[in-house]
């Protein structure tokens, strides 16, 4: 690596580079991530560049050029990087400079100097210019020359795309310390909050961006993240939601001003419509009504109108439903059940829309937490999730040699065996004589792993048996009509008072099926009311090293279950 900076000289930030918007963030001395506003005061900086008489406009200023100077405005290009022309979808560039074929790759033909001449600017170069602007905004804000970054990318960003992005960054004077995946960056930004506890849980990151939506199902195990399944969709997008509003207001306009014509049929009017509709959409995330107001929408006719949130929810209902389906499909793809999902992190700008959150909410059980501005007061701004994660990662690795980072992210390190079933103990419950399984280590936990559990003993103490076994999760479905008379009515008295008219809803519960027994151990003479502590260590070779002892007592029982010899990754 030629452009390597001395780690001590590094000033590293996090960058999220989307097709629609980009963000920059840094981590403060006390470990908090902060999103940086550019000169225009924007934290969501449109990924756009526009050239007027040789002057380069960036971000929001470039975006407003969609109306007058569309041909010389490049936007929505991130996904073109490192791609062949045949493989790109030019659709998002409908209202700005269109991508063209250039050699093996993609470029824009724009007049980027004050000469009256169209130049071919490759997507790599456009990206470099964009990143330079981001870098300078960050440098201005921090008062230091930013020269390194962790950049977030979608999970399906290919090696070629990363390579192209790396080159564009280097050309912009930014050393890429690491590319990290957008969804896990989002998970990290939640887990890195002060006071946050790492837990074993399934987290779904559902990102409804501008040109695409991306879902990732993540197994989060003690701060180690594994992506189990992903889904990408280019038809369920912020663009499509904007379109819904464009069609609505265009029709309203035509109703009122028949002779002026349909604003969708004129490029400039359409551009105006689009910008204003996006603004209306954003306004509806906070307010329950929003105003559309545009001077000279078509042929000098001004247009103002209002819309309420309910109307928008209705207009976009198909898209909200489609997005929700994507989330449930991704869960299925990971071979999981909605009941397995502990949290859904709603990411991407459109996750500000309350209806997005409520649509997803209704497809998941109450045990699933939905993290979005409208459902959780402590939710992180969905537009900032990736960039915060990137900033945190940047602060963690900025002192490392690049070689060191590369070695740490080498497949020899990152490819690990994952448990295929949960491991836990058999306990006694009130009505079940045969013992029921209680997990200690969940399935899809990366190995090696250590977990400790504290387990109650029979009322009188005495000698107890600790049976360690595999367990598989099972969904028990109960039909509503056969409501069995609960034998332990005291226990479940927490039924909500509000009788939602849930007709014929079946009851789904997560239960466990005991699988293979792995080991048995005895702890003798447990004190009355005593507890037993079990520590389970599972190696990458699937060997189990367990320690069983009464809490507070010395010594204890140690046991080893042999692993497999075949596993290559150790």
């Amino acid at each position: 690596m030629s452009a390597q900076t001395d780690p001590a000289q590094r000033v590293a930030i996090g960058i999220s580079f989307g097709n629609s918007y980009s963000s920059i963030a840094y981590t403060t001395g006390d470990g908090k991530s902060e999103v940086i506003a550019n000169e225009d005061g924007d934290r969501q900086i449109p990924s756009a560049l526009s050239y007027v008489e040789g002057e380069e406009l960036h971000g929001g200023q470039a975006k407003s050029q969609f109306v007058r100077n569309a041909k010389n405005t490049a936007a929505y290009f991130r996904d073109f990087l490192g791609q062949q022309f045949e493989s790109i979808d030019p659709s998002p560039c409908h209202q700005s400079a269109h991508p063209i074929q250039h050699g093996d790759g993609v470029a824009f033909g724009i007049r980027d100097t004050d000469e009256d001449k169209e130049n071919t600017v490759t997507v790599g170069d456009v990206t470099t210019r964009h990143l330079k602007r981001l870098r300078s905004s960050a440098s201005d804000y921090l008062g230091k020359d930013v020269n390194a970054a962790v950049i977030t990318v979608p999970t399906n960003f290919s090696d070629a795309q990363k390579e192209a992005l790396k080159k564009a960054s280097t050309d912009a004077g930014i050393e890429v310390l690491q590319f990290i995946n957008e969804p896990t960056a989002a998970v990290l930004s939640y887990d890195a909050r002060p006071g946050a506890q790492t837990a074993d849980k399934i987290v779904v990151v559902a990102d409804l961006g501008g040109t695409r939506s991306d879902i990732a199902v993540v197994a989060s195990r003690g701060g180690i993240y594994t992506i189990l399944a992903t889904l990408h969709d280019y038809e369920v997008s912020g663009f499509k939601l904007d379109q819904v509003l464009i069609d609505y207001f265009a029709k309203e306009f035509v109703k009122k001003h028949k002779s002026a014509g349909d604003p969708r049929e004129n490029d400039r009017s359409l551009a105006k419509l689009k910008l204003e509709c996006e603004a209306v959409k954003k306004a509806l995330s906070i307010g329950t009504t929003a105003n559309f107001s545009m001077e000279s929408l078509v042929g000098g006719v001004d247009f103002t109108a209002t819309i309420n949130r309910t109307r928008y929810d209705l207009l976009g209902s198909k898209l909200f439903a489609a997005f929700t389906r994507l989330v449930t499909h991704a869960v299925e793809k990971a071979h999981l059940d909605p009941l397995d999902v502990s949290e859904i992190i709603l990411a991407g700008g459109n996750s500000h829309t309350p209806k997005v959150a409520s649509a997803v909410r209704s497809a998941f059980p109450d045990s699933t937490t939905i993290l979005a501005p409208s459902t959780s007061s402590t939710a992180i701004n969905p537009s900032e999730l990736s960039v915060r994660g990137a900033a945190i990662q940047a602060s963690l690795i900025q002192e490392f040699e690049l070689e060191d980072i590369e070695q740490s992210t080498h497949p020899m390190v990152t490819v690990t065996p994952h448990l295929s079933t949960a491991v836990g103990v058999l306990c006694i419950s009130g009505d079940e004589s045969s013992g029921i399984f209680h997990p200690i280590i969940d399935a899809e936990t990366s190995l090696p792993v250590r977990r400790t559990a504290t387990i109650a003993t029979p009322r009188e103490g005495g000698d107890v048996l600790i049976k360690v076994a595999e367990g598989s999760r099972h969904i028990k479905v109960t039909k509503p009509e056969s409501k069995p008379k609960s034998e332990k009515e005291e226990a479940d008295d927490e039924d909500s008072d509000e009788d939602e008219s849930d007709e014929e809803e079946e009851l789904r519960e997560k239960t466990w099926k005991v699988g293979k027994t792995l080991s048995e151990a005895a702890i003798r003479g447990v004190k009355k009311g005593g507890k037993v502590e079990v520590q389970i260590n599972i190696g990458a070779d699937l060997s189990i090293n367990a320690i069983f002892r009464e809490v507070g007592a010395k010594g204890g029982i140690r046991g080893i279950v042999q692993g497999h010899k075949t596993n290559g990754s150790t």
């Binding site: 790109i88 993240y225 080498h410 200690i440 990366s446 504290t454 387990i455 048996l465 290559g568």
Partner: protein, 444 residues
């Protein structure tokens, strides 16, 4: 990582449980899955430090490590480029109603079976290929008509309601019923099976029973035709509606078209029901199994009738025979009884005579024994007594005993011995309780 707290108690150690140092290893963990963990966050870095041990990994290591890793980003497995009909590529978007949406998206191999996912992927592929910007790059015109056709196709196929409306009239999915001639060439199951499989897509009830083959049981075949004669179809005909004028001015005209459409839908639905019924009728008429089952049934019936008749005949014959036999037996019995009666009378007489004779012998023997008088002529009292006693004996014994006594006495002339025989007889009678001791003075 927080401790796992388990409030359910552990089981009591079973009686007699034993393990070396109180531990028993029993089974191995199931095979693990190789996955990539995300190289991010403080916990990963701590792990990476431990894992690396200052080692340096090579390119070979990379290949080896990734050999079995579970892929998350899936390459599309079934992406086939169906050939595009040049005529189709020249379609105008305004004629979208008459386009074959599945052909436009290149998924005629799936049609109504295409999943939402497949439709999405097909759409994406077509967009990448036919976006007007691509055509411009290839030196073509900026014609976006076919691109719009693609959008239209996706719009219809990704909306479940509109998709059903299209699927209802999707000619590409139709399978014409075969001609009678073709059917009779022995292809009934193959040809009609396809027809029913295609028709089955309209069924509200799934799964739809299959036509089966010549090995299907009667129950299966009956179930099949029952199902099809009671077919519950979701097929609708909105898709063929005449366009309703969009403007608000012409309300009457609008209502008129709407009404017309409603009527047309109903008519088509009825026609479709009739069509299906005919189709099932035709299949049924050509179905060899029906004939087979009918033949088998009538053969069965015949067999049963013949069997019944044979049985009746047998029973009648049996009854006649029995009657005859009974009569014969009765006659024989009567004869036998008669004969027995006659015999009886004779033997009774003979016995009577024999007894008379025997009595005579016995009485004679008394005389031979000198009336049991020791020596010399017996006095009259002795004679009377002896004769009385012997008569008493005779009355007390039956004919057989009398015969036995007679045979003993028959050849005996010795007085003492005769007396002995009598005394013996008396003794026997006393033993049998027929005579009391001392009752017979002369033989005492």
């Amino acid at each position: 990582m927080a401790n796992v707290e388990i409030s359910l108690p552990l089981p009591v150690l079973p009686e007699g449980w034993a393990g070396e140092k109180d531990f028993k290893s029993i089974g191995q963990l199931s095979q693990a899955t190789d996955r990539n963990i995300e190289p991010i966050g403080p916990h990963f870095l701590a792990y990476a430090r431990r894992k690396r041990h200052q080692r340096t990994f090579s390119e070979d290591d990379r290949i080896q490590a990734q050999a079995h890793v579970k892929q998350v980003e899936d390459e599309d497995p079934d992406d086939i480029d169906e050939p595009e009909d040049p005529l189709m590529l020249q379609r105008e978007a305004k004629d979208w109603k008459s386009q074959d949406h599945y052909a436009v998206l290149g998924i005629t191999r799936h049609r109504h079976r295409a999943t939402e996912e497949q439709i999405k992927r097909a759409h994406r592929r077509k967009v990448l290929k036919h976006h007007p910007d691509k055509k411009a790059a290839a030196g073509g015109t900026e014609d976006d008509q076919f691109f719009k056709c693609i959008q239209k196709a996706t719009e219809v196929l990704s909306d479940p309601v509109r998709r059903r409306q299209f699927d209802s009239v999707d000619e590409g999915a139709e399978v014409e019923p075969p001609s009678k001639k073709d059917t009779q060439k022995g292809n009934f199951y193959k040809l009609w099976g396809k027809v029913f499989e295609a028709e089955g897509r309209f069924s509200n009830n799934q799964p739809v029973p299959k036509l089966g083959n010549d090995k299907s049981t009667k129950e299966e075949v009956e179930h099949f035709y029952n199902f099809w004669y009671n077919f519950d179809s979701w097929r609708t005909f909105e898709y063929l509606d005449e366009d309703v004028p969009d403007d608000n001015e012409n309300r009457d005209q609008k209502r008129h078209v709407e009404r017309k459409n409603q009527a047309a839908r109903r008519k088509k639905k009825t026609e479709d029901t009739t069509r299906l019924r005919r189709l099932v009728d035709d299949a049924l008429a050509l179905d060899e199994r029906i004939k087979k089952f009918r033949q088998a049934e009538s053969a069965q019936k015949n067999k049963r009738r013949l069997e019944k008749e044979a049985e009746q005949k047998r029973l009648a014959e049996e009854a006649a025979k029995k009657k005859e036999e009974d009569a014969k037996a009765a006659a024989e019995k009567e004869a036998a009884e008669k004969a027995a009666k006659a015999d009886n009378k004779k033997s009774k007489e003979a016995a009577k005579n024999a007894a008379k004779k025997n009595k005579r012998v016995v009485r004679g023997a008394v005389k031979d024994a000198n009336y049991f008088h020791a020596s010399g002529d017996a006095p009259a009292t002795q004679i009377d007594g002896a004769l009385n006693d012997v008569d008493l004996i005779i009355t007390r014994i039956d004919n057989e005993e009398l015969a036995a006594l007679t045979s003993k006495l028959n050849t005996e002339k010795d007085a003492a011995k005769i007396k002995g025989i009598f005394q013996e007889e008396v003794k026997r009678l006393v033993g049998a309780g027929k005579v009391t001791e001392g009752e017979l003075k002369s033989l005492a």
